[in-house]
């Protein structure tokens, strides 16, 4: 292996991926892209193996290889021409959920395909039954928006207008979607151009050989990491609460992690059958979550590419919660079930790797989505708003507060941008005292956001979790605080759940609630579980938490033996 060239090429390719992402961020129309950064950009080889990726959204990073490889099963390389761009979002063909749109463009060098530039982004509005893409009560895929098998949206450099017409006719915000789709195209255009520069500089043979070495290097380092973990079968259970359709039914996620030498198998058999409602994960999600969990437990300096993934296998039973069968819905699988799978794997591995896991994080993106006609501009708006949660305490540190759940790596949209773009007034946004689970190392705090509707009507939907089942603690740490979604109608003075106010089956998953001018919505995000016995917490840390308002005096007395002077 030529390590010098390998390092240079790896860094150059990662930089290209980052540049693709920045282009996407700067040219997109939706807040989900330009503020929240819910996308990822990468490069793949001819087999669809990921050879480089930027540090954006892990859900999409782990999903990328299966996504591209699934497309290549349907569109053979011989049918892909210079200037083509393939679009795909089908959850049943390697996809993640309908909002996740994958674009990839062949990188031609001297008439030969050398690989692909790939951009995956969460399109905020995809048609279907609810504005904003998350139909909390969907019972089939057709309610979850436009489903796109692999198609060429650009053919030999020219827009495939027929495809564009079909796509844009089936969404509520065609102007914004057009801008976002073009931003994704700009990203893959840039990736192609920059990689062509790399091939021009180093030559096809050298790049091909070095990339193969790079993948092998990542694989070897990942296997070496896995070899340090004691062999064994590690099991754990966690639950997704409710599916938005069957109230009060919890859905089991079971994992047996088989660690053997330099290999690891995530066997999910024993997980609940697929749900009626939209909490099901696709195979892409179940695979991506396995990769995500392993990347969190291993050396972060290993170059991120498909080589890292070679030692990881997934067994996900068809028709189960973690491998949904057509035509069941799946929009919540990629956002809510993914972090629950990762948490389940981390819980299993806590027995083998106590210093590399954390207690449960909030594990939801909140996914409060809405749309309507703006009273001032008369234009239809739609928003996919994601929020952050508290992360779990670790053996060596408290959990982080208000950080996007483990599969997102996204940012919270600033209040000022939110109010400028959408007809809400944010009345408060603050960390919630006592929401971090008590522990030697406290769980991170969740927060609450209170919003006043300043439009005639806004149609709201949500796909969240952890309203009922609190994030668990580890090694004697206590549970984190639950989330909540509450509404106070104009003229009333009590907060009600969506079940109380609108008769919904679930408080955390619902769609198409009409919030009217003067109504208020309060979104409370869960905190993280604590790690270790709270009695062992450093007394100075308890005092500091009290001073900052992170914990109340009551909690300090109850969990930490605090006595007032």
């Amino acid at each position: 292996m030529d390590f010098v060239t390998m390092n240079i090429l790896d860094s150059a390719m990662v930089s290209i991926c980052r540049e693709m992402g920045i282009t996407l961020m700067k040219t997109s129309y939706s807040t989900i892209f330009n503020e929240a950064l819910d996308f990822t950009c990468g490069l793949a080889d001819m087999n669809g193996d990921m050879i480089a990726v930027a540090d954006f959204c892990p859900a999409q990073i782990g999903g990328m290889p299966l996504l591209v490889q699934s497309c290549l099963k349907e569109i053979p390389i011989s049918d892909i021409h210079e200037g083509d761009i393939i679009l795909h979002n089908d959850p049943y063909r390697g996809g993640l959920h309908t909002p996740e749109h994958t674009f990839f463009k062949p990188i031609f060098v001297e008439g030969e395909i050398m690989g692909f530039a790939v951009a995956i982004g969460h399109i905020a509005e995809v048609g279907g039954m609810a504005p904003g893409g998350f139909c909390g009560e969907a019972t089939e895929i057709f309610q979850e928006g436009v489903r796109i098998p692999p198609v060429k949206i650009v053919k030999r450099g020219e827009d495939n207008v027929e495809v564009w017409k079909l796509l844009l006719a089936n969404v509520r915000t065609p102007r914004v979607n057009y801008g976002d789709l073009k931003a994704l195209i700009a990203a893959v255009d840039l990736g192609e151009k920059q990689m062509q520069g790399i091939f021009a500089k180093y030559g096809k043979a050298k790049v091909k050989e070095t990339v193969a070495d790079l993948l092998l290097y990542s694989e070897k380092r990942m296997r070496a990491e896995l070899e340090m973990i004691p062999d064994g079968i590690y099991s754990f259970d966690d639950y997704v609460e409710s599916d938005g359709v069957e109230s009060d039914k919890n859905h089991l996620i079971h994992v047996d992690v088989h660690k053997n030498g330099g290999s690891i198998v995530m066997d999910y058999h024993g997980t609940s059958p697929q749900a009626i409602g939209p909490i099901n994960a696709t195979l892409g999600v179940a695979t991506s979550a396995a990769y995500n969990a392993v990347l969190h437990m291993t050396d972060p300096t290993i170059p991120r590419n498909s080589g890292c993934f070679r030692p990881i296998e997934v067994m996900a039973e068809p028709g189960s919660l973690l491998n949904v069968d057509f035509p069941a819905p799946s929009v919540g699988g990629n956002t809510e079930t993914h972090p629950r799978i990762v948490g389940t794997i981390l819980g299993a591995m806590s027995k083998a790797l106590p210093d590399r896991v954390m207690a449960a994080e909030g594990g939801t993106h909140c996914n409060f989505v809405f749309g309507g006609v703006d009273a001032d501009t008369k234009e239809y708006f739609a928003c996919y708003d994601l929020e952050a949660v508290g992360w779990g305490g670790r053996s060596f540190a408290d959990g982080n507060s208000a950080v996007d759940s483990i599969n997102g790596n996204c940012r919270i949209t600033p209040v000022e941008v939110y109010e400028t773009r959408f007809p809400w007034l944010i009345e408060s946004l603050a960390l919630d005292t006592d929401s971090g689970g008590a522990g030697k190392h406290r769980g991170g705090l969740g927060y609450s956001k209170q919003m006043l509707c300043v439009n005639d009507v806004i149609t709201c939907s949500q796909m969240t979790d952890r309203h009922l089942l609190a994030p668990w603690g580890l090694e004697g740490g206590k549970e984190g605080g639950c989330g909540a979604t509450l509404v106070m109608k104009d003229g009333e003075d009590t907060w009600k759940t969506m079940r109380e106010a609108y008769g919904k089956a679930s408080t955390s998953r619902f769609n198409n609630v009409a919030i009217r001018r003067g109504d208020r919505v309060l979104l409370r995000m869960p905190g993280g579980g604590g790690y270790g016995d709270p009695a062992e917490r450093d007394p100075d840390a308890v005092l500091s938490d009290l001073k900052d308002g992170y914990i109340s005096k009551e909690a300090a007395k109850k969990y930490y033996g605090y006595k007032e002077a």
């Binding site: 049943y92 058999h269 997934v314 039973e317 068809p318």
Partner: protein, 63 residues
Amino acid sequence: MKFSANGYYIESYQKCPNCGVLMYANSEEDRKKRVEHEDKTYCSQRCVDWSIAREKRRASAAG
């Protein structure tokens, strides 16, 4: 292209009962690796073996 048994779309969506991978009808390379076991089509012999081992492990754990 072909229609699925339930007539919904152009794929049959046949998945390996063990690992859950989608088995495409048109892939000669994948087809060669497939194994029939107890009236089910698995993607590979490894998945058949894994499936049998899982059943045995769970049966012995159940006593």
